[in-house]
Amino acid sequence: MNANELAVELEHYLKGEEYDRLVWEIPDLLRQQQAELKELKLARLADLDVILKQRAEIELLFKEIPEFEKVFSNEPVAYVTGLNKFDSKMVDTVLKVGTPLYTHPASLVDWSYQQGYQVGKETHPAKTLTDEEITEIFDTTFEVHDYQDSFIKFARAILRKAQEKCTK
């Protein structure tokens, strides 16, 4: 029996003094609650839809992290292997076979810069985390029942871990 059906039944049940006072009050309040509940449930569904969309976007960003790391970690993305066919961009190049190629423009400036870059790379390794480290932090900080605070905890833990790596 739902609230509206019960309200109808109550109208036939109450009697005497109570009837005069409650016959209107109870059914009205039950119907009012029913309407409010319906509205709140619809609003919750709409909120859930937004939350799930945001979550999907965040998961997509997590998947892109390794690609970003590759670009920003100063690792070579390719090596000169020689030309198999005429390439107008490469024909005048002085780069020898085996020269590493970077997406980071600073590493392509000149020889002295290259040397500095090499020294810097050896003494200051890239401050990145491995997939395993990120997954481990995610597992220890993310709680489904505390979804809201988990993002902040996760981000802080990532920053802390990266900082630890810097100071080692």
Binding site: L6, E9, L10, Y13, K15, L30, Q33, L37, R44, D47
Partner: protein
């Protein structure tokens, strides 16, 4: 008078019947339903109060 107060008042109504009969009667059912619906409404409102500020703060979504 709110739903819970009204439910309390309904609890005090008796029509010469046993507790079981009263619970099964429309008045008893109404009292139970008023409380249950009120609890559901409060839970849903609490859910909204928790999530909406979060969506606004982190994603700029205002509802």
């Amino acid at each position: 008078m709110n739903a819970n107060e009204l439910a309390d008042e309904l609890d005090s109504i008796s029509y010469d019947c046993t507790i079981e009969e009263w619970r099964a009667s429309p008045v008893g059912s109404a009292a139970a339903m008023l409380r249950q619906q009120q609890a559901e409404i409060e839970a849903l409102k609490h859910w909204q109060d928790t999530w909406r500020p979060f969506l606004k703060q982190h994603f700029g979504i205002e509802k």
